[in-house]
């Protein structure tokens, strides 16, 4: 008898399975125009253009660690438009991986999402991010801002990051470059002016310097500082001159030699990609190259004596160059497949405006991109923000395509592990190989 019951249950399940398939078929036979741009189920209620009294359903993605903040900002947003009813759903998607999830299926992605600036070219190429000029009328009528106003409110560097092929795509929200954290108990301000003295001081103190060799985001700083350049071409390929001679007359081989020299020091510690936070808790390091997101970790590890400084300078053939870190930021983009593009844009604008950026700094120690927000007294005294500002003139905007990352990561790892060899010919070959990979055509 029991067996029969089980069979019955199984049959019911099977039937419901079939029934569901039928439903699906029924839906499919509708003309495709409406159903093609289907959003996640939550927003399906908003198929018809809403009258102003209708509830506007929006979805938003933000980083795991920003959820509390974003919940508050959403509440503020609702309060700012009291006449409109909203149903805003907040989801988790890290800025670092936003592109991966969005590009898998842009139509299922959130209406408003945060992402890291290096992902903009890929998102724009795939048509997964809205050119903000298309919705400018909405911004103008409801938020009273034009694109030009928004650009004027942000530091120019971040506007540049939000611009691709001449179009303005996203609202900058967090200045996200990296600089040098150091332990004020171990090193003095003078120690950290130059790579060599800094490394020597650490050697003497028996402490480590944590540097992420295996990432093209970090390890290119000496190349950029020495006048080398990368550019992203229209066909998605990257141009890279690291294997030649730079605009400042430095040979790529010499930069590599300098890096090899650094890496061979017993004080250098090659961090794994994304391993900076763990390095703070590890306790071995007195210097760690990281960004504002680690401010709290630095504070916990080194107490109030933690300090932040611009990248040290380095000397090649007697000439001193300032290392050039990559300027980047987090921004908020709007999904072009959103059902409520106008309101989505307003929400994106709202959570990145001056007040929101100040709030974000207070809660998350995130450096603002907004000029006025950066002038806020509380923000200005922050050590990380100060360091970012101090290196604003040397930092560069990294313009690279998708083929840049894997080869440069490998190259940095080779330097860290010392597998390249020290003679010029070997280094040149390694550089050439790396550049071949970076500049490879995109199939």
């Amino acid at each position: 008898m029991k067996k029969l019951l089980v069979m019955l249950l199984c049959l019911t399940m099977a039937l419901s399975l079939v029934a569901c398939g039928d439903n699906g078929d029924g839906k499919e036979s509708n003309p495709p125009a409406g159903s093609d741009g289907t959003n996640p189920p939550e927003t399906q209620g908003a198929q018809n253009p809403p009258a102003s009294g209708d509830t506007i359903s929006l979805t938003m993605w933000g980083a795991e660690e920003d959820q509390t903040l974003l919940t508050e900002l959403i509440a503020d947003f609702k309060a700012a438009y009291p006449d409109q009813k909203f149903d805003i759903q907040l989801g988790v998607e890290s800025e670092a991986t936003a592109k991966d999830t969005i590009l898998t299926d842009p139509q299922a992605a959130a209406d408003v999402y945060a992402f890291a600036s290096d992902q903009l070219p890929a998102l724009a190429d795939a048509g997964a991010i809205l050119d903000l000029s298309t919705v400018e009328p909405a911004l103008q009528s409801l938020a009273g801002k034009t694109i030009a106003d928004i650009q004027a409110a942000n530091t120019q560097a971040y506007n540049d990051l939000a611009t691709y092929n001449g179009k303005y795509y996203a609202f900058p929200s967090v200045a996200d470059g990296w600089f040098m954290f150091y332990d004020g108990n171990v090193l003095s301000e003078d120690d950290v002016k130059d790579w060599d003295t800094m490394v020597k001081a650490c050697e003497a103190a028996g402490k480590k310097v944590g540097f992420t060799f295996c990432s093209g985001w970090y390890n290119a700083c000496l190349f950029y500082g020495a006048g080398f350049n990368t550019t992203l071409n229209a066909d998605g390929t990257t141009s890279c001159d690291f294997n030649g001679t730079s605009s400042k007359g430095v040979k790529g081989v010499d930069v590599v030699k300098y890096m090899q020299n650094l890496a061979s020091s017993s004080a250098m510690m090659a961090l794994p990609e994304g391993g900076t936070s763990a390095a703070f808790t590890g306790g071995e390091c007195a210097v760690i190259f990281s960004g504002c997101w680690d401010s709290n970790a630095a504070q916990e590890a080194w107490g109030d004596n933690y300090a932040a400084a611009p990248l040290p300078s380095f000397t090649i053939n007697g000439t001193s160059y300032a290392a050039a870190p990559v300027k980047s930021c987090k921004m908020v983009g709007v999904n072009p497949f959103s059902k409520q593009t106008g309101w989505a844009t307003l929400l994106a604008e709202f959570i990145t405006n001056q007040q929101s950026q100040v709030k974000r700094f207070e809660q998350r120690a995130a450096a603002p991109t907004n000029i006025e927000a950066a002038k806020d007294p509380a923000v200005a005294v922050n050590k990380g923000v100060a360091a970012l500002n101090a290196q604003a003139s040397t930092a560069i905007i990294q313009s690279v395509g998708g083929n840049y990352w894997s080869p440069t990561a490998s190259f940095g790892e080779q330097i860290a592990q010392g597998t390249i060899g020290s003679d010029d010919a070997a280094i040149q070959t390694a550089l050439d190989d790396m550049v071949t990979g970076v500049t490879a055509p995109v199939a």
Partner: protein, 306 residues
């Protein structure tokens, strides 16, 4: 051609029970070698358990982070377990556990039914398409599942089933019929004489299936149930793909715990991850302990025929 060998098949089925290792343990003369033998086993077991012990240690350590200086924590604490049950924006373990449990139970039912149905049809059925169908199944099994993920995803999306547990359940169970081989191997050893006798008594095939074959197949059913139950706890690739709206409360245990290891979170959540890992393992371990005997019999009898 179905019943002339029934005598030998009966033997094959009975074999596991009759020859179970209940052999009397005679005191061995070479005491030294016996001690050595057991020490060797003990050492192996210790080696096998080291990572698990570390998992337990980490979950009970007072500190955070995964890079610790000593194997055993300096301070013990249950604070991470407490945190695990206090949901925050990252951690919603109780919800995840329920979600996964729900999916696992339904997956169990559907998958077990499907596997048994296909196995019975291919083992007892006598229809022309049987061999070709089985060959097609072998072919299909050669395609790696990860590959077809994107296509499955779009299919589900068109039916509006992404971000739903039902969609995920379909992914796990809908094509589970393909995993019928071991079960078929078991059914092949079921004595055909039994069925023949039932047929003479007027049973139809459906009755033979439900009244005769299923009751004699407890080991393989247990084996199938365990495997079906475990799948949702183990998988994170499909789950992450299907549950892509970023709504943490929808996650399964695997997706949720995996998200804890994101670079920006791992420092504060690694130990909580360990707690989650242990809590997931406990019910599975219990299931295994209870069902171990059947599990072994099931997999054995099945793979004998493969």
């Amino acid at each position: 051609m179905s019943n002339e060998n029934s005598v030998m098949t009966k033997e094959a089925v009975k074999a596991p029970e009759t020859k179970a290792p209940k052999a009397p343990r005679k005191g061995h003369r070479l005491g030294g070698s016996r001690v050595g033998h057991n020490i060797l086993i003990a050492i192996l077991c210790v080696i096998w358990l080291i990572p698990i012990v570390w998992l337990v240690c980490m979950s009970f350590s007072a500190g955070d982070g995964m890079y610790v200086a000593s194997f055993f924590p300096k301070q013990w604490s249950v604070s991470h377990y407490v945190k695990l049950f206090q949901p925050d924006t990252v951690n919603q373990f109780p919800r995840w556990f329920l979600n996964t449990f729900k999916i696992a139970v339904f997956n169990c039912i559907i998958q077990t039914c499907f596997v048994l149905m296909v196995a019975y049809a291919t083992s007892f059925g006598k229809f022309k398409a049987r061999k070709p169908l089985m060959n097609v199944a072998v072919m299909l099994n050669l395609f790696p599942g990860v590959l077809t993920m994107i296509a499955v995803y779009f299919l589900l999306r068109e039916f509006g089933l992404t971000n739903s547990h039902f969609g995920l359940l379909l992914v796990y169970s809908a094509s589970s019929g393909l995993g019928y081989l071991i079960c078929k191997g078991f059914f092949d050893t079921v004595p055909r004489a039994l069925c023949e006798a039932a047929r003479i008594d007027g049973c139809n095939e459906a009755k033979i299936f439900t009244r005769i074959v299923i009751p004699t197949s407890r080991p393989i059913i247990v084996y199938t149930i365990i495997n079906a139950f475990l799948a949702p706890w183990m998988d994170f690739v499909f789950a992450k793909m299907i549950l892509n709206a970023g709504i943490s409360s929808q996650y399964t245990v695997a997706v949720g715990l995996y998200a804890m290891l994101e670079k920006s979170l791992i420092n504060s959540y690694f130990t909580i991850f360990c707690c989650g890992g242990i809590l997931v393992s406990i019910p599975i371990a219990i299931l295994f302990f209870i069902m171990q005997k059947f599990y072994v019999e099931g997999v054995t009898a099945g793979s004998v025929k493969g």
